[in-house]
Symmetry: C2
Subunit: 219 residues, 2 copies
């Protein structure tokens, strides 16, 4: 499968590398393309790896992952041509965190009422945006087995049921997430509550001394 990853930070690179390992074809996109970091990754990742701009990565992918810094994500998406995302599934991994007031971080004020997930769906109206993976550390996103044998919860939300189903299967097949631990929270408006969980996640990282943990919803 051809997959486009928007963002070349830790999250983008971790997902891109994992997808190359699972024998997908991956293009990572950055603002201008051709940066040192992107080129180094392509060299390391091998023949199925490419790099380009946000727009060329979006065009390349049948499936897209948005792994941008939450603060700049919407501006980055302005560089993507609408026809390059039309009808595609876009997994939104972003978090709109504000560290300027110290720890624990807050959700950026501009996204406290209308979440970043909703704004991304508004910015890409012809795409099917699914919010997922934003509540765990990058290494766990791509291999759920690394904590508690995969017995922990991932939240999904998005307006298109079929897109959510496809993402759920993709995560199970590629990243070892167990289907019975995926919880569908409803439409993309529920992004607000999963983005709202992340300040607690950051605080727990400090308290536990490791990012290798997750929440399991138990009944």
């Amino acid at each position: 499968m051809n997959i486009g990853i928007l963002g070349t930070g830790t999250v983008g690179e971790t997902i891109a590398t994992a997808l190359i390992d699972r024998r997908h074809h991956v293009m990572i996109g950055s603002r201008q393309g051709g940066g040192e970091k992107a080129l180094a990754w392509v060299k390391k990742a091998g023949k199925n790896a490419q790099e380009g701009t946000f727009d060329t990565a979006a065009q390349y992918g049948e499936l897209l992952f948005i792994c941008l810094n939450g603060e700049h994500a919407l501006r980055a998406l302005e560089m993507v041509a609408p026809e390059h995302v039309a009808g595609k599934i876009v997994v939104d991994v972003t978090n709109p965190l504000d560290f300027t007031y110290g720890m624990p971080p807050r959700v950026l004020e501009e996204y406290s009422a209308v979440s970043l997930g909703e704004r991304i769906q508004q910015a890409l109206p012809t795409a099917h945006v699914v919010k997922a993976l934003n509540t765990v550390t990058a290494a766990l996103m791509v291999d759920a087995r690394k904590v508690a044998k995969g017995e922990h919860t991932l939240f999904l939300c998005g307006n298109d049921k079929d897109a959510k189903n496809k993402v759920a299967h993709f995560l199970a097949d590629n990243f070892y997430w167990k289907g019975d631990h995926l919880i569908d929270l409803g439409g993309i408006a529920a992004s607000r509550v999963v983005e709202g969980l992340v300040p607690l996640w950051v605080q727990l990282w400090q308290s536990l001394g490791t990012p290798m943990f997750n929440f399991r919803v138990v009944q």
Copy 2:
């Protein structure tokens, strides 16, 4: 032990009833005292139960629980004389939720930067405020065994280590919370991140169809 409960809603009454069952002496406090609901509870709860105003309940208790509606909590606390809470441990169970924009709720805008837990500590500077129990449904607050045999997480925060320790022991002894599932998130400023979890909790209640669940932090 003499315990004061501020608030006579579901949470206050559930905690008060549980504490009577554990053979404590309990006074529930309401705005004016003498209300129908409070009197009915006293009659049902028996000889160790009393009711009064917010101020008399605060005076009565060696340990206090704040179970007020988050929106009105600070105004209610203005009715409590500072000397009636001085040096006491105050467990803050409140949540500042805003349902006016529909589901899922938001955190009330006025508490998004400085949490309600912090504001309560500021309002009662001589008390030791410990934020706890606000992330689970009332029936589970008072008996952790009702979900997953008690194998799930409760978050505590507060500025006074000794007060947090005492609350942890109280919750273990009276409400069956397991010590190794209590996570100390640090000072009362961490209230922001636990209050921020509750909109997700409300959304999960809708998705799961029951409030009898909790999060377990797994590593």
